[in-house]
Amino acid sequence: MDMSYSQTKKESATGFIKKLLFAAVILISFGSVTARGNTGVDTPPKAAWSFNGPFGVFKRDQLQRGFQVYKEVCAVCHGLDLVRYDKLAALGFSEAEIKAIAGAHDVPGPLNEDGEPTTVKATPGNAFANPYPNANAARAANNGAFPPDLSLMAKARAHGPDYIRALLTGYEAAPDDFGLMDGMYYNRYFSGNQIAMPPPLADNQVEYSDGTPATVEQMSNDVSAFLTWTAEPELEIRRNLGVKVMIFLSFFTLLMYCLMRRTWRKIKHSKK
């Protein structure tokens, strides 16, 4: 290798580094757009979710446990309007189980012959039954506070599942100088630190059928994973397809690169 060759190589290497730095600056400046925390409120710690990273997947047993927590605890106040019962098949529930789960709920039916509203048993095709007939009833039952729908919660809050998990475990006694309002609770992770939702979880509040000890920590993890699934039911299919698309595009790009190089060689070598 002669001197001039290595020289140009070195130059192109520094040029590449410059380009990389430029790309990094752009990415960081984009990143800063999204990386905004609430002031005065703790940032939720990152948990090691099974669905983290580009190849992460849900754990079916965790989703089932999370569903149990939702069904037995959260569903008392929170709806899941965007999810249908039959979607639970993705969690590993059988058709009969789903029918039983749906059948336990009453939903508004068609008007009867006298024009009166009726109530029917929910079928797998129904969306999760909402605990309240309307928003006013929800407020009236909750001291004026509205329990938000949980379908998209993992996407509608910064830090997603980490936030839900942190919120559920973030209840503590308010500092003495904190002016906590009546009927409110202190939470480290909630915006403004005052939340109307009482601490929803206590140890052994549910009894897991798989024998997992139902600690507050465990239940918070499980229900956060479940709500990630309700927010992004396509997550696994998306990543699976994504890997295939990336492999295809890599080959395509490499092929085009080789074609380009071969075509241009005639120009680059016809010097002089």
């Binding site: 800063s32 999204t34 905004r36 998209l152 910064a158 915006s191 039911p233 990543r239 074609l259 380009m260």
Partner: protein, 428 residues
């Protein structure tokens, strides 16, 4: 054929010669010759670098956006009570609806990245200078239409940020209200409010707003296509500028577009699609705001209303002056000033490669644009406000002061005689 050739009329002989469907069509509509001339033989400077990839990439992205958009529109409901739910229906029930929507959503971001790089390329290599002034101006018009389209598209999912973003931005127009004292009372000419209400179709962002934004979001991309075609006609009139900024002179300076730039563009396309797909499949909400996954609620204002990232520099310019009217005018000027660039730049040399001073100011300009983007994402106070003001002054100073002045005081480096000569010297 039993007939002798002598029996045929001359026109019949000519018709018989052009056998085949291709010739039949070509005789009536010279489309193949056109494609051959503009896409295959089209003489292109042989020294274009990768920054010349972004134009074709933006064109392809526009097509992808229109196609995904048409299929999304088939499933979308532009009504305040159903819009949010219909988008979630696309995400959950429509086959590969999530893919369509994530491609479209991230496509807007990708489109702006491409177009910003395309514009910076033009600014660096002086691609706006004679005889390409109209080419540049049509580019600015496309950019402006893109911003309008993107803004209205962001309203359609009817999330919290959709609603409040629309409320804040349409409120800009109230800056044009005229208040003056008449004796003891203040007279107010609600000119701006009138414009705002006319745009909204009511007194606030509501169903009529959503309906018309949907109609316009569907319409404007086709207007963009029209101007893109004019942009291409103007481009092919004199051909691409190049990194040296000197005109092509001989056959040695150019290569036919195909296969040289078709393959280079396809390589660029592959690389670009890898980035786009990376976001679509593995971080689809990276550029989004979590708030937009909450349905719009006119009674609950989000604590921090921010526009999409690609508007942040302009948002920062808007907020850097305390007076609303000045802020709005300044923001629109920030885009409008680009139209004057071909005449503000007095230097006869196109490429920054041969303009040592301009090059420095150019990179400072890039830095100030990125800084403005950061400022736009911050609450308007403290150090962010100060940086926002300084960079706004530089943004306008770059165009209004530095560009004209440099033309007079800068001593450019000697230009090479030809593209070919320069390329050969580089290789030696």
């Amino acid at each position: 054929m039993s007939k002798n050739e002598q029996d045929l009329q001359p026109s019949q002989i000519a018709a018989a010669k052009e056998k085949g469907l291709k010739n039949w069509v070509e005789h009536r509509l010279p489309i193949f010759e056109f494609m051959n001339k503009e896409l295959i033989e089209y003489k292109t400077p042989k020294n274009l670098n990768y920054f010349w990839n972004f134009g074709s990439l933006a064109g392809i992205t526009l097509v992808v956006m229109i196609l995904t958009g048409i299929f999304l529109a088939m499933q979308y409901t532009p009504h305040v009570n159903h819009a949010f739910e219909s988008v979630e229906r696309i995400m959950r029930e429509v086959n590969f609806g999530w893919l369509l929507r994530y491609i479209h959503m991230n496509g807007a971001t990708m489109f702006f990245i491409l177009v910003y790089l395309h514009m910076f390329r033009g600014l660096y290599y002086g691609s706006y200078k004679a005889p390409r002034e109209l080419l540049w101006i049509m580019g600015v018009v496309i950019f402006f239409l893109m911003m309008a389209t993107a803004f209205m598209g962001y309203v359609l999912p009817w999330g919290q940020m959709s609603f409040w973003g629309a409320t804040v931005i349409t409120n800009f127009f109230t800056a044009f209200d005229i208040n003056f004292a008449l004796g003891d009372s203040v007279v107010s000419l609600k000119l701006g409010t009138g414009i705002m209400e006319w745009l909204l179709g009511g007194f606030s962002v509501d169903n009529p707003t959503l309906n018309r934004f949907f109609a316009l979001h569907y319409l404007l991309p086709f207007a963009i296509v029209g101007i893109v075609i004019l942009h291409l006609v103007a481009l092919h009139q004199h051909g691409s500028n190049n990194p040296l900024g000197i005109d092509k002179k001989t056959e040695k300076d150019v290569v036919p577009f195909h296969p040289y730039y078709t393959y280079k563009d396809l390589f660029g396309l592959g690389t670009f699609l890898l980035v786009w797909a990376g976001f679509v499949f593995f971080a689809p909400n990276f550029f989004g705001e979590p708030d937009n996954y909450m349905p719009a609620d006119p009674l609950v204002t989000p604590p921090h209303i921010v526009p999409e990232w690609y508007f942040l520099p302009f948002y920062a310019i808007l907020r850097c002056v305390p007076d609303k009217l000045s802020g709005v005018l300044l923001m629109f000027s920030a885009v409008g000033i680009l139209i004057a660039v071909p005449w503000l730049d007095k230097s006869s040399v196109r490429s920054a490669k041969f303009r040592p001073l301009y090059k420095k100011f150019f990179w400072l300009f890039i830095f100030s644009c990125l800084a403005l983007g950061w400022v736009g994402s911050q609450p308007p106070e403290g150090i962010a406000m100060l940086i926002g003001r300084l960079t706004t002054v530089y943004y306008f100073g770059f165009f209004l002061l530095i560009m004209p002045l440099l033309g007079m005081i800068e001593k450019p480096l000697p230009l090479p005689n030809s593209i070919d000569e320069y390329e050969q010297n580089k290789c030696r």
